[in-house]
Each structure stands twice: as structure tokens, then as C-alpha cells.
Amino acid sequence: MKQEAIPLPHDAAMAVERLERLVQREREGRLQAEAIAERGLRELYESQVRLALLQRITDCANRSNDFSEAIGEVLKEICEHMNWAFGTAYRVEGYGAAVACDAWYTAEPARLFPLVEATRDRTFASGEGLPGRVLRDGHPHWIDESELATSFCRRVEAASCGIRSACGFPVLIGEEIVCVLEFFARTAMIDKDAILLTVTQAATQLARVIERERARAALLHDALHDAMTGLPNRTLLDERSRAAFERLPESREGLAVLVIDLDGFKAINDKYGHHAGDIVLIETARRFDSVITARMGGRRRGDQASWRATLARVGGDEFVVVLDALPDPAIAMDLSGALIDALKAPIQVADEYVNVGLSIGIAHSGTSYSSVEQLRQDADLAMYEAKSGGHGGVVTFSDSLGNERRNRMALESELRDAIREKQFTLYYQPIFALGKAGANTGKLRGFEALIRWNHPDRGLVEPGRFIPAAEAGGLIVFIGDWVLRQACSAMARLHRSLTERGFAPGELPYISINIAPQQFLQPTFSSHVQRVLLETGVPPELVRLEVTEGVAIIDPDQTRQVLEQVRSWGVKTSLDDFGTGYSSLSYLQNLPFDTLKIDRSFIASMDDPKSRKIIRAILDLASNLNLSVVAEGIETMEQGASLREMGCEYGQGYHLGRPLDEASAFALVWPEGTASAA
């Protein structure tokens, strides 16, 4: 660069002027450099502060499982960070309104009192006010000073607190608005981008807390509710009914327990499958719930109502309603009637319509109860009483029912002693071949073993007096086992002495033994039969196990398996009391029986042509299915003769032979010649 190319000042004044320009340029360069650096530093600072804030909010969200706990801290952090006067939150519930949840923060409660008061209990419908607008649009809204002064719905309160701006933000879980945050400042909200960034991220953290809260609530709900019907389960029912019992007034009145059992549910499950059963239970629960809600005047538990109800599903087809704070005990009976009516309309299961009935037992609280469990037991007892009628209905627990229960409990206790002290004995009723038409009484073919209780005070007690109590008390299994073993060993003894006397195996009598459903359906029953056969040495083909239809109704699959198993060892099977229960032909077809026993009630009414037709039908059916038939309860010669005429092969009854003790019964077997020779 040549020196003369650069113009230089000619005098001092010009030099000063130039130097001043130089300084000015330097100055502006410095200002620009400072501005660039300051802007960068300010952005860095703000992002650090925001990150620190978000870190605190995130920490708070991580710590908290409870929205109401977290929200206070989050509002405080945001307000302090933004220097805002007031922050509050609204929960959005299912029905689309923002409901103030009494979560708010202000550093100056006294100063902000009017606005806090105008806000903390408010509910904003969608579109209404700032929270409602956020709720409607799903995005943040800003309100500046002029709007705040003119159209803001809390403008009077806001003005009195010196508020100049406001903003509202949605808290979102996916697309769903779960909460609205609202903030007020006494200055303008300037840097909207920064505010948006900060509050949106805080809202994301709050959404996490709400999600966790929901997950917890769902877990808790699952633990306390029946998954299928959504009703409270036994745990929650126990909790609520105990609390209600604790709350009872001095009179101990006002609490009622309804135990509800579906009639015919098992049959639906069996016939249409478990899926159908589930549909029935869900629909039943739905109808019950709507009846109860309507009766409470549309009010649910927790609201102010004259009385409260908890409907729970406590077992397969068992529901319980606990009625609390009842002003009138008659409400329980009215409600029961309404529940029964609610199930009168059939329930659609796939393409079919099914009906279920109800058996309801009611028990009312009173001074005699010391726990709600006792109340439940009495309601249970009343329900069984209702069920035992066969047609369902409602039974309220009474003292006489209580007495029956006490008697039964006393009987059960005596039965325990009887089992321990071996007070039972077996009687044997002979079963005869009725012989050919026109001939006289035929040959003795076997015995039915019948239990008697040799009671120390009351003498011989008939089974009808104690077997139901033994069944209810779960003692039948022990008694039945004793009967099985006793009958088999007695028969084995008889067979030995008959064989010694030259009886051919084909001439030996069989023994028919009644098996109770509970005993039959024990998982170990068939192996137990096998053991008894081995230990007593009785020929299996001379043992007949009699069961009623009851077993097949309880568990048809298990029944078929057990019958098939015992028959595979040669044991015969017999369907007892045929004609009195369901008499389902499908059972007869599917279950392997050797013999049908016609119930004594048909024989007793043989004079009635209708009964005779039924007997004839049973005989035809048995003949077609290749089953032998035994008529029970033959009390007259005429009955015996008629049955013989109709082609019934075997019979038993007082006319043919009463039940006798072992020695007397077995003496019937000896032909006269042999007997006298003995």
C-alpha cells in the first residue's frame, strides 16, 4: 500500500475530528460486542434458571404420588420463578368442567384474598372463564390488562388485587385435559415463549403425577373390587360393613345385611358355558346397581342420603348388600322385592334368553349382635332358608330361625361325639326280585344298608333326623365313610359264612350303600372305595353305590369320572330317588348307571293313574337304556303285585321286609333247611 494513497489530516482540528470519529466507531463496535455477549449470557442464564426450576418440579413430581401434594409445590415454584401473584389449579373430571381443587399459591394471601376466594371453590364449564376456555380449546390462553379490565369474569376481584395479566394452561395426558393451571400477575406477562416453555414442561411433570395417581387408584380399585362386575369385593365389603357396624347408635338399629344367591345359575353355567355365566353375573350386577341407586334417590355412597347401600359380589353367584343408616327396617324387604323384580326380565346370553331367580336372606342389626360377621351369618342362614323352599324368595332372619340354628349346632356337636364314640349302627333292608307276573314273592337279591344313630338318651334315631345336620356341618363325609366300610365288612362276613355253607357265588346277595353328594365328590372317593374293597374282601360286583341326582347337578364331569372308575372295578352304580329331582334324561344318558330306583312317593300314590303312567314311563326308559329297576317303599301286597304286572324286576319296602339289625337281616338269607341245620 502506497503512503500517498491514504488521505491524512492537514491540520490539528481535522485530526481531532478524525480521532473523535475513530473513538465513536470503537465505541459502537464495543457496544455491539457487548450486546451480542449480553444477549447470549442472558439466554444462558434464563435457560439455567428454567432448568433448575424444572429440575425442582421434576424432583417434586418424582417424590409425589399424590396430585394434591405436588400441585401446591409446583404452583409455588412457578409463581416464585415468574414473580406471579397467584397460581391455582383445576381438576377436570369426566363431565367436562374445570373444578377448583383448593390448590393455590400466593406469596401475599391477605392481599390476594378477594381473588383467591372468588376462585378456590369455583367450577368452570367448558368455555366459561379462563379455565373453561383452556378446557374448550385445549391450548393456553393469555389475558392482558385491557381484557382483564373489561371482560374477565373475576375482573372486580382481580382489579381489587392489582392483577394486570393472567394465563391458563392445560395439563394433558395424551389428548385428554386432566387439569388446568391458572396464573395471575400484577405485571404484564411479557416473554410468552419462555413462559410457555416453562409451564408446559411443568405441566408434563404434573401429568406424570396424575398418571401415577390413576395407576395407583386403579390398583387399589382392583384390589377392592370384583374384576368382572366392577362391584366392591369381599375385602371392601368387610371394611365398609365393619365401619358401618362401628357407627351404629346405642340402639344398635339401622344396619341390614342382604345375602343374595342366584337360583339356577349353575345350570346356566353348565348348559351354556362359563362365558354365559359371566354375562348373567354382569347383567345381574348392573340391574342390582341401578335398582339400588334409584332407591337411594340417585345418590351414591358418600353423598348425603337418608341411607346408604354397598352392593358387593362376594362369591361365584353370591351378592351382598349392606344397608346403612336405615330409618325404617322395611326398606330392606322393599329393596329385596325390587331386586327380585329386576331379574324377572330374562337375560340375553348369545341367542338365548335365560332366567335366574333369587334367594335373599335379610338380617337386621340389634343389641344381640356383637359383630357384623354374626349379622352376615344370620343373613346367610336366612338365605339358605329361602333357598330351601325351592322357589327362592326373601326370608328375614328371626329368632326361630336362630333357634333352629342353635338346635342344629347342638345336633352337630352331638354328632361329633357320636362319630368319636361310634354310636352309629347299620340296619339292612332286604331287596327282592319281584318274580314273574302271577307268581308270589321272589327271591332275596340284596340289602340296602341304612344308618341308625344309637343315641345314648334318645335310643335309635332315624337318618332323616340327623343326616341333614351332618351334611350341613360337613360331618357326612366321616359318617358316610364309616357306613361304606361297615356295610362292606358286614357283607364280606355274610358272604364268607354263606360260602362255607355251600352257596354258589351267583347266589350271594349284594349290598347297596347310599353315598352322600359331599362324600361322592371328594377327590379321593374312588381310591377310597378301592381301598375298602381290598381291605374287606367283598366282591366288587356285589357292591352297589347309590347316589342321587344331586351329585350330577353339582359336578356332572366329576360324577361321570367317578362312576366310570368304580364300575371299571366291577362295582355297580345306582341312581337313587329317581323321579323326584330334575330327572334329567341327559344325566341318564351320559352317566353310567346300572340301576334306577323309583322313588317311594310314586309307589305310595300308585292308585293315581298319573303315578302309574310315570312308573310305566320310567320302566320303559330303563328298559331302553338297559338299566335294572328297583321300586322303593312297597308297603302293600297290591303295590307289589301291580309292579310285578308292569314288569318291575326288583323291589323293597315294609311289605317285603323292614330294615333289620345285621343278625336278623342276614338270617333271612338262610334257606329254612340250612337255617335249622345251623
Binding site: E20, L31, E38, L41, Y45, E46, V49, A188
Partner: protein
């Protein structure tokens, strides 16, 4: 004290008294005077500059500070327009002063002491401003507020109810935005 205060003072002096006046003031105060807004400098240097101006102009230190505050607002507006535009009036701008100052101070020195202006409502309807700082520059604040009113074309009546310069523990200033 933040460097920007020295820069503003320099600008105010230069604008009113010429480029060389600032150099003269520095010379009187015995300071070398290289200040950048990115730096921070001893408070005593401001005091010395204000004292020098006070001597040179024949004004009290308080009057110099008030003049400086009022003159600084247009300069601040040139440098930091973004702090002014969101506000429609001086009252709103003044109310946001903490929001402006705190980040500006702390972005440079995280632990630096900030003046805090505590706004509150007075019973007579005026706005109260409480100020407490070891720098005791309430007159500078007074000038800033007047400058802000000038900028937005507003009127404000400022009354010192109590002053640290009079030995009070805190300065209390009343602002009447509708005099």
C-alpha cells in the same frame, strides 16, 4: 456495580456535555475509566464519579443521581428496547423493574447482590416502593422513574416518605401515577 451503569453515565455525560467531559470527569475522579457492560466494578468508583460531577456542576450528589437516572432511560431504551415494548405505560414498566434487573445482574455473576424494589399498595391509593441497598442510591431510582414517565408520556408524582440518607433503615417512596 455493573459496568452498564458506568456506560450509561458516560453516555449521559457525553450526550449533555460532550465527549471530552467524560474524560475530564474520570480525571477528576482519578479513574482510568475502561468500563464494559460485561464487567463489574467497585461501587466506590461510581461514588467518586458522582462526587466529581457534583463538584463540577455545583449540584448535590442526590441531584446528580436523579439527573443521571432520568437521562439514562432514553439510553437504556436504545440498548434494551425489548424491555420497554411490552409495556403500555410507565407504571407497568416500573412494576417490572425487578424482573429486568435480577436476570441482568445474575447472568454475569450468579451470586451478585441485586437491589430489590418492593412494590406495595399504600392506604391512600398510591404505590409504595421500598428500597434497601448499601449503595443508598434511591435518588437514582427516583430519576429512573421520572425517565420512565417521560418515555411513556405519563405523569408521576414521587414522594420520599423515608430515606436511608436520613438515617432510616429503608427508603420508602410513594408513587402517584395519577397526580
Amino acid at each position: 456495580m455493573k459496568g452498564v451503569v458506568f456506560n450509561l453515565l458516560e453516555d449521559a455525560v457525553v450526550r449533555e456535555h460532550g465527549l471530552l467531559a467524560w474524560d475530564g470527569l474520570l480525571e477528576m475522579a482519578g479513574l482510568d475509566g475502561a468500563y464494559t457492560s460485561l464487567g463489574s466494578y467497585p461501587d466506590s468508583e461510581v461514588v467518586r464519579l458522582v462526587d466529581a460531577a457534583s463538584t463540577a456542576l455545583g449540584l448535590s450528589a442526590g441531584e446528580v443521581l436523579r439527573w443521571f437516572g432520568r437521562s439514562a432511560i432514553p439510553l437504556l431504551h436504545e440498548r434494551y428496547e425489548m424491555f420497554f415494548t411490552p409495556h403500555k405505560n410507565a407504571q407497568s414498566f416500573v412494576a417490572s423493574i425487578n424482573d429486568i434487573i435480577h436476570p441482568e445482574v445474575r447472568k454475569l455473576y450468579a451470586g451478585a447482590g441485586c437491589p430489590h424494589f418492593h412494590f406495595h399498595d399504600l392506604e391512600d391509593g398510591r404505590t409504595g416502593l421500598a428500597y434497601k441497598s448499601p449503595r443508598r442510591m434511591c435518588r437514582l431510582a427516583h430519576g429512573f422513574i421520572e425517565g420512565a414517565a417521560d418515555h411513556y408520556g405519563d405523569r408521576v408524582a414521587i414522594e420520599h416518605l423515608a430515606c436511608m440518607l436520613d438515617g432510616q433503615p429503608v427508603c420508602r417512596i410513594a408513587l402517584d401515577w395519577n397526580p
